[in-house]
């Protein structure tokens, strides 16, 4: 029997001698310590948390700072710029004179800091509220995708046989389906009718719809590498030793397999959050993601399209927020990876 039969963790870090000198830090604490020494990862984490905090505080900004409402149109409203009262929307003076030009950025936090959108709504307030949805969808769908992928990938790799054959084919099919087309197809169909599974009904404009759609389409991205990892683990001595000792499957899965695949899942989590956020924004940009009256960074970019050449801030600001958040998450993911060092890789999408 191999000596590491009972070691549950990515690496049997401690040796007998080290244990007598001082208690070993253990793989998790070692990884955490090395992550905390990674300056790029820590700055990224700070940036991400700052974005989250700003978005969580959106109602505070709306009510107490800007004194506007992010969700009702304000077509005939006025605001104050440099002490003078000006309309939020002015009729267009070029072309046919149809349409309106909203007020541009005033750089005054109390009065339309980033200007207004086509309906006279405060872009800054919408940006923060939209960020709540973008972040929520990104994080929740990443957690669901990784959770589902862990269950399915581990089950396929550990039990093998018919279950593995079915699951692997399923992964193949979803994998071969271009992600955006699958997401778009599902969104288009489910938006109009909502989704009914047994007693649960999800309305077409619910945030759960994009969350579930995005979570499901990315399951193979995580499940496939996990399955491969479990497949190699299955043949390792310490698992065989567990089987030989008469441990139940559940015990082996919980004590030996899961602790070994957890690092991979953890590496995927921030990367998947970034990817899912980008996917959500693309769907919303195509107006089949988050539905009005809800907003997300993608829908705000979509709102700004008609104003691109006159008031580009409406488009630029949410895109920058997405980019900053995604860069932070990707760098954090890199940091987590080098701290834990499993061989995980993520493909990108256009």
């Amino acid at each position: 029997m191999s000596s590491d039969a009972s070691v549950a963790g990515p690496a049997p870090a401690s040796t007998e001698r080290a244990r007598t000198v001082r208690p070993s830090a253990g793989p998790w604490r070692t990884a955490l310590a090395s992550l905390r020494r990674d300056r790029v990862a820590m700055v990224s984490l700070a940036v991400f948390l700052l974005v989250v905090l700003a978005c969580v505080l959106a109602p505070v900004f709306e009510h107490h700072v800007a004194h506007t409402d992010a969700f009702t149109s304000n077509i005939s409203g006025t605001t104050v710029v440099h002490g003078r009262r000006v309309p939020v929307l002015t009729p267009s003076s070029t072309g046919l004179g149809l349409g309106v030009t909203p007020i541009g950025p005033t750089w005054d936090l109390h009065h339309y800091f980033l200007g207004a959108d086509g309906q006279g709504r405060d872009v800054m307030a919408r940006l923060l509220f939209g960020g709540r949805n973008s972040l929520l969808i990104g994080v929740v769908s990443a957690v669901i995708a990784c959770g589902l992928a862990t269950v399915l990938g581990v089950a396929a790799g550990y039990f093998g046989g018919v279950l593995d054959a079915i699951l692997s084919r399923l992964f193949d099919v979803v994998w071969a389906f271009p992600v955006y087309l699958l997401a778009i197809s599902l969104s288009v169909v489910l938006l109009t009718s909502g989704l009914t599974v047994g007693p649960v009904h999800i309305e077409g404009d619910s945030l759960w719809l994009p969350i579930l759609i995005i979570a499901v389409i990315y399951v193979p991205y995580v499940a496939r590498p996990l399955r491969g990892q479990v497949l190699t683990l299955r043949g390792r001595d310490f698992i065989q030793a567990g089987v030989g000792n008469g441990a139940t499957d559940l015990r082996i899965l919980r004590k030996d397999v899961l602790p070994n695949v957890m690092p991979t899942v953890l590496v995927f989590l921030p990367l998947m959050t970034a990817l899912n956020m980008l996917t959500e924004s693309a769907l919303s940009f195509l107006s089949i993601g988050v539905q009005p009256p809800n907003a997300s960074w993608g829908t705000i970019i979509n709102d700004g399209l008609g104003l691109l050449y006159t008031r580009p801030t409406v488009t630029l600001a949410p895109g920058l927020m997405i980019a900053v958040t995604a860069v932070a998450l990707n760098l954090l993911g890199d940091g987590v990876r080098s701290a834990l060092d499993p061989k995980a890789r993520l493909r990108g999408a256009a």
Partner: protein, 322 residues
Amino acid sequence: MLMFVGRRSVAAVFVLFTISVLVFLIFFATPGVDPAARIAGRNADPATLAQVRHEFGLDRPIPIRYGLMMEHLFVHRDLTSFVNRGALVIPQILQAVPVTLSLVAGAAVIWMVLGLLMGTVAAARRGTALDPLMMLLGVVGVSIPVYWLGEVVNLLTQSRWHSGLFSWVPPLGYVSLSDNPGEWALHLLFPWLTLAALYAGIYARVVRGEVLEALNEDYVRTARAKGLSERRILVRHALRCSLIPIVSLFGLDFGALVGGAALLTEVVFGLPGVGKLTFDSLQNLDLPVIMGCVLYAAFFVVLANAVVDVLYAALDPRVRRA
């Protein structure tokens, strides 16, 4: 080897078949979704609905409808649009293919050159400031929404700096290669760069990793011992071996993009390619066109997957036994 190709082809056909069934079920059998209600429009009375249902064959059992649609799509090749009555689906797709191919092929050249260059330089200059800088550029490329980048490019080239720096940029749209090669390239230049910006970053990261791994191999030490120059070792030995995984990655991405994954870029730049066609048919829920586009897309992805696997098996005999 022949056995492997055969087995791989059977698997590819199986995946394609499953995808076609899946798409069909998504659009025609999702509980609560009634295609007839969409074709008839809002507030249609029951008689109209029944008529529409009968006219489009929507009152028949699902397996028969699936069979009929596949027959029209592949056997008679006369599947028609639900929205533009009489418009054939296949010619529409065939017309859109050259646009998508032009976009993706040009972008692919740019991102491969940039990716290889950035990745190799980053690996060779490891430990200098150039390496993290290149990698940061790569992360930024992956993190920017491609459609948003396209809008920013449009803002600069079509509006803000159009009277000065970018006065030579033509308006959005597409000119076919056979009509005017110069205009074709000019119209596609910024779409190419936008799409390539996303992939160049991903490829640079992968190339860097592979080259670094190769530089640790024994044959590189042997090459050094033989007294070869560092540049020759890097390009002729390390980079060359790193190309195998890159080629397989490239095959998959290229297949997905030709299949319509370039949808966002096409929509933003007003290019009438397959992605745009899919998007437009989704906007007015033109189910036969959607079916055609998605199947066409899946075909390219599955084909690319199969080609890559076979190439891999040709390069590495161990794979054939798996």
